[in-house]
Symmetry: C2
DNA sequence: GAAAGTGTACCGTCCGGATAGTATAGTTAA
DNA sequence: TTAACTATACTATCCGGACGGTACACTTTC
């Protein structure tokens, strides 16, 4: 268990704190406790709270970017591969390690520019999606609807039922194939 | 200028603080300063920070609810009137007093149940939208895409250009008429 | 009709608790 | 034995909220 995996464990712990206790309880002590280390140990790895949050966002961004570009590259059909990759990965991400998204919540709270990696990621994808062979307005709508699901869940505004989510997923994928 | 309008002024001040300085700077002192009153005066109107945030959410929810139900009631065509009202009002809301949405950001940060009025609102609309004569999955997608726009703007993840936004608005409205 | 009382709006100060970050001594592993 | 890491003790700061007043418009009571 090298340095790096410990650092990532800490990031997961931080996400869990945000998810369980809210942004205001994302304290260094709470994260240390959740990660099973001391506050000093935490500060050894991430010398400030901002650095910790930055780590969360960067980890999320790297994961997301890699998954989506892999997915797009392995798509046999060229037309619409980016929007399909986006929909696929986002849905699966939402099912699996949902709580990594909480890094965004933390980032939004902590400082203005800690969301920069995410913003960059999104403008990249927007470019790809719009030059992907399908109607850019339609592609944008598919993407916005996908975002609407996880954002409203992250925000806890409303949670869509599993069955309905699957139906929506299917229809969005269909549209991305037309 | 009665008691009520002063209270609403304070809510706007609080939203402005969140929008300009972020959630962590939503302090009683900052809000008081923005509203041009003292901390004591602020606490007179809202006896705690939680009460203040609750006021923000409730104000937003009431406004939103009223606008959408008015809009739906005045729609000459019955089929799809709720989803149309939702799309219309949300787009216009986003253009106009965008910063009221910041109450949600504050609510999400402050406590678990301060978002309750919003959650209730959303489940009401979801019910209406799904029994509105058009395909519920399609209606849900229209609604999710609408949410995706303002949520990603609120989150500052990415901002869609005005032209594209109008095109999306138009297409969503078309779909809501089919 | 004036003295006494009441309610509303607001101000400025103070305090306790929480928290980010520092310092440093100790421990483990290569 | 040195770099990676932990644990603890401590400091400085910030913030929510309590509180004691002030101002003033009203109403009631004698």
């Amino acid at each position: 268990m090298g340095r790096n995996s410990r650092k990532i464990e800490i990031l997961h712990a931080a996400s869990k704190v945000v998810s369980d206790q809210g942004i205001f309880n994302l304290t260094l002590e709470a994260v240390a406790k959740e990660a099973g280390i001391s506050k000093g140990g935490l500060l050894y790895h991430y010398p400030s709270k901002e650095a910790l949050v930055h780590g969360m966002v960067e980890h999320l961004a790297n994961n997301y970017r890699e998954k989506i570009s892999n997915n797009a590259e392995n798509d046999p059909i060229d037309k619409g591969k980016w929007i399909r990759a986006y929909v696929d990965v986002t849905f699966n991400q939402t099912y699996q390690n949902k709580n990594m998204h909480y890094g965004l919540l933390a980032a939004k709270a902590v400082s203005t520019n800690s969301l920069d990696p995410i913003r960059e990621l999104y403008s990249e994808w927007q470019r790809e999606i719009e030059h992907d062979g399908i109607d850019p307005v339609k592609a944008s709508i598919i993407r916005l609807a996908t975002d609407g699901i996880w954002l409203s869940e992250l925000f806890d505004i409303y949670h869509i039922g599993e069955d309905k989510k699957k139906a929506i997923f299917k229809k969005l994928k269909d549209w991305a194939n037309e």
